[in-house]
């Protein structure tokens, strides 16, 4: 059971959280202006890194807030969690 640091609540057990996919995807301001390929890129194409991944998480059974996290997909370690809108931290060396 991993402890995850909610930027608002602090360390909480993994059970309280829900994983919400890749972070830093911005919904296009005007989807109609995109061609099909561009829309497909936004809709369906995701990174699947072996290593550090930027992810969205939600403290769904706590404060309910969404936040971003830098997590390693092999070791399951969280290097950082941060609020939406904040710049992403660089992965540890």
């Amino acid at each position: 059971m991993v402890l995850i640091h909610c930027p608002w609540c602090g360390d909480r057990a993994e059970l309280e959280f829900r994983h919400c996919g890749e972070a830093h995807l911005v919904r296009p301001a005007d989807p109609a202006a995109l061609d099909d390929a561009q829309w497909a890129e936004y809709l369906a194409f995701r990174d699947n890194p072996r290593g550090w991944a930027r992810e969205r998480w939600r403290h769904v059974h706590g404060c309910g807030r969404f936040f971003n996290a830098l997590r390693h997909t092999l070791t399951d370690r969280f290097a950082a969690t941060y609020k939406p809108g904040e710049a992403w931290p660089e992965p540890p060396a």
């Binding site: 059971m1 919400c20 919904r27 099909d36 497909a40 809709l43 969404f66 809108g85």
Partner: protein, 947 residues
């Protein structure tokens, strides 16, 4: 009896009676089942998995591969595969041997041993090859099924209770041997909270076989016990090591009338692993006979339990510790016929001591064969050739009733590996040792290689054994050196593949005695070093852990939460039949005396169509959307246009995912300019709120809007039918009926209770949904029943609700939709706000795939014969012998209103096929002819609900 007159830690004043295979025996408090059996001269305790060979007791601990027995503590308490070496003896213990028929001494399946030529490595996989599937089904599968499995699974429900506890400690020490006790004392001295656990019933580990250490052990344990910040947990196995020092422990409590086991989940600042080392057996022909025992285990039986496991002993040693064992048995009264030293020369000091004791030492010797049936009677001692093979031609017979194996030591790095620690190969010690790790974990004692001396390297231990007959590596899975050599010859190179192909190390002991030997055999066959071949992965659990300890209290009623609606108790009293809808229990129908479901549902449907029905709709999801931008927010999420929706009006809303497919639906009422009452499907409430919160927080953070789940705050009573208004109106205060058309909402009082009253219909009839605080719903329900009595008010359940909505062509998300249905497919494109530049999923609706003319569309279906009911889920095909599905039946019901079955379905280009005939597949007959019709069977113009 082989019990010694004195010595050991057993309590000779407390005899305990027990039985094994129906025979009565006696042991003492402090015994394990294994020590008590040995004390009674019982060596044969089981039959092996595959060849049904007689097997005895190899070890004195958790690594035991052979001595697996069934422990019977009464109904529901029959436990298979208990290791006799770790079962504490208790009064009245009932144990049975396994894997034998008709008896342990005479086992018919032992003929498998004769067929071993065809049961070698991978025989199971090879049965898939060759003469077709028939041979597999008729011959191999029944045979494998008969043979497969260790022991008998219990059949009755487990009557015992299991607990769960979380704990936090600065230091968790795993293993209460000398290193663990020292670590616990040191940590306790700093004032830290310490948890010290050990899998054995008695703390002390290897010290329990060192009588001279007992006074100090007692003093140390007393000191720890007296410290209130130290928790001592005997019979507690640390079986899983998770991230951030989260360690799971399984504690056997066996309190009378109380808990049987308790699962501990411990978060520790630092974990100290003092898990010791396991002695290696030695592969040679016939190394599995009862009476062949690990040398240090035999020493433990003598020193700890006062049992002499043999009177005429030979020791095969590759490590100095073998001599200590042989000497200890001699001191206890056994004759030591010989020590067979596998190394080229025996260590001088030990050789001198052996000579002084009159023990013959044969250097550079191995065993070429053993003799005996159900217990060893002798062996052939053979000089080892240059490649390690014992030379049978020059062998000398030696009689013995106990053969000790001292193959050296393997540090127990299982938990360290689970902690994702890296291992390094220590060539000098001939062992994998803990290396780098990120967790705050320290390894001490033998598991870190401390105090271990090198012996004969494991590759040389295995050298020459690959050609031996029946030289067992994994005794629990009956894997021999030849099996492993065969796997390598057949091309398996990775140790993980060899493991799976031969099943070496895959039994309940997870290879505690076999992994290193198997690795050494593979290395020898491949001409590689042990570290080049590498280890298989260590996974949790370290030893078998009961399902009960994982389940804890989460069984029966506590397995999954049950949600009940406000009228649940009333419906129970009425004898309603319930159905689960997610975690909800909903009343499905209300049968009257003599009615089956079909009759009850028909009666309930006709009551709604002809008079009035009352229905508990409280499970509908509800979300209160509040704020100046409430309508703007919904405008951006749902397909509909909301901003022009007036206060006091409501609208049927449709929510898509960004991919354009229907996600949820429900009525949204505008309570005020800045307040909307959103309803969702019963099953979709949580995920819809999650999705809306996602957009609110991350895509539209500029909007001033807040979302609150109110699903359980509102009780919802639906009144549907032409007499609904007649029933309701006399109870309503504060409502202007002149301005309350279909799809209106108002705050008013119903039966004196503050209510949100919706005029909506999910049946096609004039309908209302009365929302009141959930606690008030039963009172309002009673008032409506009373008021409706004169109008023939009839309670109805979810089944009638489904029929009524299907007759009207209303979809149910998740039944008519499956995540691939667009608004256009469902005939709901009219809901889309045409002037809206964007909403969730809009862009996807213009993708070429979404515009294809042959997309599957919602249609109505009526059996051509007007009588047979199609199956929900049946494939739709264009002719009775067509092989290509063009859609499927999504809903099908008998309709009392129409007098024939009706169905809904998704059909390719369905709306252009009205009047056509299609066929629905059936499981039990030829396809059924259906006419394609409009999905709205009742009142297509909608006059009734506007009435």
């Amino acid at each position: 009896m082989t019990r010694l007159a004195t010595g050991g830690r057993i309590d000779r004043t407390r005899p305990l009676r027990f039985s094994f295979d129906g025979r009565a025996y006696t042991g003492f408090a402090g015994d394990t089942l294994a020590s008590a059996l040995l004390a009674n001269g019982v060596h044969l305790v089981g039959r092996s998995f595959k060849y049904h060979r007689p097997r005895g007791i190899l070890s004195a601990g958790v690594e035991e591969p052979n001595a697996l027995v069934e422990i019977d503590r009464g109904a529901g308490r029959r436990e298979p595969n208990a290791r006799a070496t770790v079962v504490p003896l208790v009064e009245g213990l009932v144990a049975r041997s396994q894997n034998r028929w008709p008896s342990l001494r005479f086992d018919l399946a032992a003929v498998n041993g004769l067929a071993s030529a065809v049961l070698g490595a991978g025989f199971y996989y090879k049965t898939f090859l060759g003469p077709g599937r028939d041979a597999w089904h008729k011959r191999w599968e029944p045979m494998i099924r008969r043979m497969a499995g260790l022991g008998r699974a219990p059949e009755a429900p487990d009557p015992d209770r299991y607990g769960n506890r979380y704990a936090h400690a600065e230091v968790l020490v795993v293993g209460a041997g000398p290193a663990g006790i020292r670590a616990a004392l040191e940590a306790a001295a700093t004032g830290a909270r310490v948890v010290l656990c050990d899998e054995q019933a008695e703390l002390g580990g290897s010290l329990l076989a060192e009588p001279s250490a007992w006074p100090q052990l007692a003093a140390d344990l007393a000191k720890l016990r007296a410290n209130p910040r130290v928790t001592l947990l005997p019979r507690t196995t640390a079986f899983s090591y998770g991230l951030q020092n989260f360690v799971a422990l399984a504690q056997v409590v066996e309190a009378t009338g109380g808990l049987r086991e308790r699962l501990w989940q411990v978060r520790a600042g630092r974990v100290v692993l003092a898990t010791g080392a396991l002695e290696r057996p030695i592969p040679f022909s016939g190394n599995d006979r009862p009476g062949v025992m690990l040398a240090d285990a035999a020493r433990h039986y003598v020193q700890r339990w006062g049992v002499l496991p043999g009177r005429n002993v030979t020791a095969l040693v590759a490590h100095d510790t073998g001599y200590s064992a042989a000497f200890a048995l001699q001191d206890a009264g056994a004759a030591v016929a010989a020590v067979l030293e596998m190394r080229a020369t025996a260590p001088a000091a030990l050789l001198a001591e052996a000579t002084r004791r009159g023990i013959r030492v044969l250097a550079n010797h191995g065993v070429s064969a053993t003799r005996g049936g159900q217990r060893i009677t002798g062996l052939l001692a053979a000089p080892r050739g240059a490649d390690g093979t014992p030379d049978a031609a020059r062998a000398t017979p030696i009689a013995c009733d106990l053969l000790l194996l001292a193959g050296g030591w393997t540090p127990s790095v299982h938990l360290f590996s689970q902690a994702r620690g890296k291992l390094r190969w220590d060539a000098a010690l001939d062992a994998f040792l803990p290396d780098e790790v990120r967790e705050a974990v320290t390894c001490v004692g033998a598991c870190a290689g401390e105090g271990l001396a090198p012996g004969l390297p494991v590759t040389q231990l295995a050298a020459g054994s690959a050609t031996a007959h029946k030289a067992f590596v994994d005794q629990q899975n009956d894997v021999t050196t030849r099996d492993i050599a065969l796997a390598v010859r057949e091309g398996f190179r990775s140790i993980e593949h060899v493991k799976r192909y031969t099943t070496n190390g895959m039994a309940t002991d997870q290879g505690k005695t076999s992994n290193m030997l198997g690795l050494a055999v593979v290395a020898g066959q491949l001409g590689r070093s042990v570290p080049e071949v590498g280890l298989t992965t260590f996974r949790a659990p370290y030893t078998p852990t009961s399902f009960g300890s994982f389940a804890g209290r989460h069984r029966g009623m506590l397995f999954d939460p049950v949600r009940t609606a406000p009228l649940h108790d009333w419906a129970m009293q009425q004898g309603a039949v319930f159905e689960p809808v997610g975690q909800w229990q909903r009343a499905r129908y209300f049968p009257r005396t003599g009615e089956d479901m079909h009759a009850a549902v028909a009666r309930e449907c006709l009551a709604v169509r002809n008079a009035v029905g009352i229905f508990d709709a409280s499970t509908l999801g509800k979300i209160e959307v509040v704020g100046p931008d409430a309508a703007v927010f919904l405008e951006r999420c749902y397909v509909n246009a909301w901003r022009k929706l007036g206060v006091g009006r409501c609208r049927y809303g449709l929510l898509l995912r960004e991919d354009g497919f229907i996600y949820d639906d429900g009525v949204v009422g505008r309570i005020a300019e800045d307040r909307c009452h959103v309803t969702t499907t019963t099953g979709g409430a949580a995920r819809v709120l999650h999705m809306l919160e996602d957009y609110r927080q991350t895509e539209f953070p500029d909007l001033r809007v807040w979302l609150t789940s109110t699903t359980e705050h509102w009780g919802v009573i639906a009144l549907q039918g032409p007499r609904a208004r007649d029933v309701l109106a006399p109870l309503v205060e504060g409502l202007d009926w002149r301005d309350f058309p279909h799809m209106a909402v108002a705050e008013c009082r119903v039966a004196g209770i503050a209510a949100r009253l919706f005029r909506v219909s999910f049946s096609g009839e004039l309908g209302f949904e009365v929302n009141v605080p959930a606690s008030q719903a039963p009172a309002v329900w009673q008032a409506l029943l009373q008021a409706g009595a004169a109008h023939g008010i009839t309670p109805y359940g979810t089944e009638a609700m489904h029929v009524l909505r299907a007759e009207k062509g209303f979809i149910i998300v998740g039944q008519e939709t499956d995540g691939t249905v667009t608004p256009e497919d469902a005939g709901l494109a009219w809901l889309i706000g045409k002037a809206k530049p964007d909403f969730i999923g809009k862009r996807s609706l213009s993708r070429p795939e979404m515009l294809r003319a042959d997309r599957r569309q919602l249609v109505g279906l009526v059996p051509r014969d007007r009588s047979a009911l199609p199956d929900e889920g049946a494939q739709l095909i264009s002719s009775a012998d067509a092989r290509v599905a063009e859609g499927h039946v999504t809903s099908a019901y008998r309709s009392a209103t129409l007098g024939h079955p009706v169905a809904l379905g998704l059909l390719a280009a369905g709306r252009a096929r009205l009047g056509d005939t299609v066929f629905a597949t059936r499981l039990d007959g030829p396809p059924m002819a259906l006419e394609v019709v409009s999905p709205v069977f009742v009142d297509p113009k909608g006059e009734r609900l506007r009435g």
